[in-house]
Amino acid sequence: MHDLTQAFLELIRLASTDLPPDVEAALRQAREREEPGSAAQGALDAILKNVEMARLHSTPICQDTGTPLFYVHHPAGWSTRQLREQIRAAVAEATARTYLRPNAVDAISGKNSGNNLGDEAFPTIHFEEIEGDELVVDLMLKGGGCENVGAQYSLPDTRLGAGRDLEGVRKVVLDAVHRAQGKGCAPGVLGVAIGGDRGSSFLGSKQTLLRPLDDRNSDPRLAELETKLHEQANQLGIGPMGFGGQTTVLGVKTKGMHRLPASFFVSVSYMCWAHRRRRMIVHGDQIEYI
C-alpha cells in the first residue's frame, strides 16, 4: 500500500481553500436574485470575492475549518489502520501549514490539542469496503456555527402540528430553518434524514450533504419534498447572513432510513454557504481530485 499522507494533505488543502464548482455557481445565481445595493447582495458580493481570494492565495475560505469528516471507501485488502494513521498525519501537517485551524478542544479540560488530533472521532473517519480497485475518499469540513443550528425532531410534534408523514417532515424542517435564522451562515444547504435512531439519523443527514447540489433524488417522493422545501425555505425571507432576502438555502438533500415502530426521527444538518467538500480517487499511481 502506498503512503498517501501527501495526497490526503492535498485533499485537505483543496477542501479548505477552494469551494466546489456547484456551490460557487449556486452562490452566483443567488447574487443575481438579490436586489441591487441591498445588504443581502453586498453579503454575497463579499462571499464571492472571498472565495476567489482564498483560491488565489490558498488560504482557508472560512477560519472555522470545522470538524474534518472523512468518508473512506476502500477496496478489499487495504489496511484501515494505516489509512487512519496517514489521514491523522495529514491533518496535523495541514494544521501546521494553516490550511486548518487547530480545532480539537478537550471538552473536560478545555485544552486545545493544537494539531486537530483529538479522540478517535476527531477527525471523524468512516470506513467502508467497496467493490473494484479504486480508493475513493470524500472529505467535508463542517464548521461549528452551522453545526450548532442542526436539529433533531421526534414526530409527532404537537407544537408544530407535525405528524408521522412527509407533511410532518416538511413542517419540522421549515421550523429548523426558521430557528437557524442567519446563525448557520445562510444561505446554507440542508441535509435531512428521515428515520433511523438518534445516532444513525444524524449520520445520515450529514451523508446527504455529499450529494451535488444539482442532482435529483432517485425517489420521486423525496425529490418532490426537496423541491418544495427549497422553495418554502426561501419564502421565509431570512436571506444571506440573515439580512433578509431571496435566498435562505442553496439546496435541500433528503434521505429515507429505517426506524423503529416507536420512533420517527427527523434530523437536520445545516451546512453553511461555505460548503467545503472534495473527493479524491486513487487508481493505482493515479490520483484525481474532484
Binding site: 482557508p60 486548518l100 485551524r101 447572513m241
Partner: protein, 206 residues
C-alpha cells in the same frame, strides 16, 4: 460607506443606523467564548480569583476596549512557531453564544462596538442603547477577505486558551461590516426573525 476610526465617541455611535455599511480602522481585540467567561467570572461578577497574568492582561486590554471594539473571531494564524504572527483567515464567529455576558462586558469596559455574525438578543440590544454602542455584522465565512484588512497583530494574550480563543490585539484598516443593531433600539435580526415567523406560521398552516 461610512469610515469609522477607533475609538468611537457617543456622537458617532448615535449617528449609526441599522443597514449602514461601515469600514472600521484602528486597534481592537478579538474575544469569544472563553474570553467573555473569563472577563465575567474574574473581573465583573468576581466569582473567581484572578490568577497568573489575569490582572496584567486586564490592565493591558482595558484602554483598548474603552471606546473600542471587540471582535467575535477565532482566527487562523501563521507564525505560531516564530512569534511573528500573521492573520491568515479571520471571519466572525456566531455571536449569540455571548448573549448571557455581552451587555455586562459592554457596560464594564465602555465598549462601543461588538463585531460578529448572526446578531444578538434583547440584553445586548438594551446595552447598545444604554452604553451607547452598536453591533456590527461582518460577513460570516469571508475569512480570507477579512484577513486582508488586518494590518498587523500587535500582541496576543491568553494564548493558553488556544489559538481560536485567545485575545488577539490587532490593527485593522477598512474592516468591512454592516450595522445590524443600533443604539436606538433597531435590530435587523429582530425584524427578520419576526417577518420570517409570520411566514412560517402561514407555511405550517398550508
Amino acid at each position: 460607506m461610512r469610515s469609522l476610526n477607533l475609538p468611537l465617541d457617543d456622537e458617532t455611535v448615535r449617528s449609526l443606523r441599522i443597514g449602514d455599511p461601515v469600514q472600521l480602522s484602528g486597534v481592537m481585540t478579538t474575544g469569544r467564548d472563553a474570553v467573555h467567561k473569563w472577563m465575567i467570572d474574574t473581573f465583573i461578577r468576581k466569582t473567581r480569583q484572578p490568577q497568573g497574568d489575569d490582572e496584567q492582561v486586564y490592565e493591558a486590554i482595558r484602554p483598548i476596549l474603552d471606546g473600542g471594539a471587540i471582535y467575535h473571531c477565532g482566527p487562523v494564524v501563521a507564525g505560531l512557531d516564530t512569534g511573528d504572527y500573521r492573520f491568515v483567515a479571520a471571519g466572525p464567529t456566531t455571536s449569540i453564544r455571548e448573549e448571557p455576558y455581552q451587555g455586562e462586558v459592554m457596560a464594564h469596559f465602555n465598549l462601543k462596538a461588538v463585531i460578529g455574525k448572526g446578531g444578538m438578543g434583547p440584553k445586548t440590544l438594551a446595552a447598545c442603547q444604554d452604553v451607547p454602542a452598536v453591533y456590527l455584522h461582518a460577513i460570516g465565512g469571508a475569512a480570507s477577505l477579512i484577513a486582508q484588512s488586518v494590518q498587523r497583530v500587535v500582541v496576543v494574550h491568553k494564548l493558553e486558551f488556544g489559538v481560536p480563543e485567545a485575545i488577539w490585539v490587532i490593527e485593522v484598516k477598512d474592516f468591512p461590516a454592516v450595522v445590524t443593531m443600533d443604539s436606538h433600539g433597531g435590530s435587523i435580526h429582530a425584524e427578520v426573525e419576526s417577518h420570517s415567523a409570520q411566514k412560517l406560521e402561514s407555511l405550517l398552516a398550508a
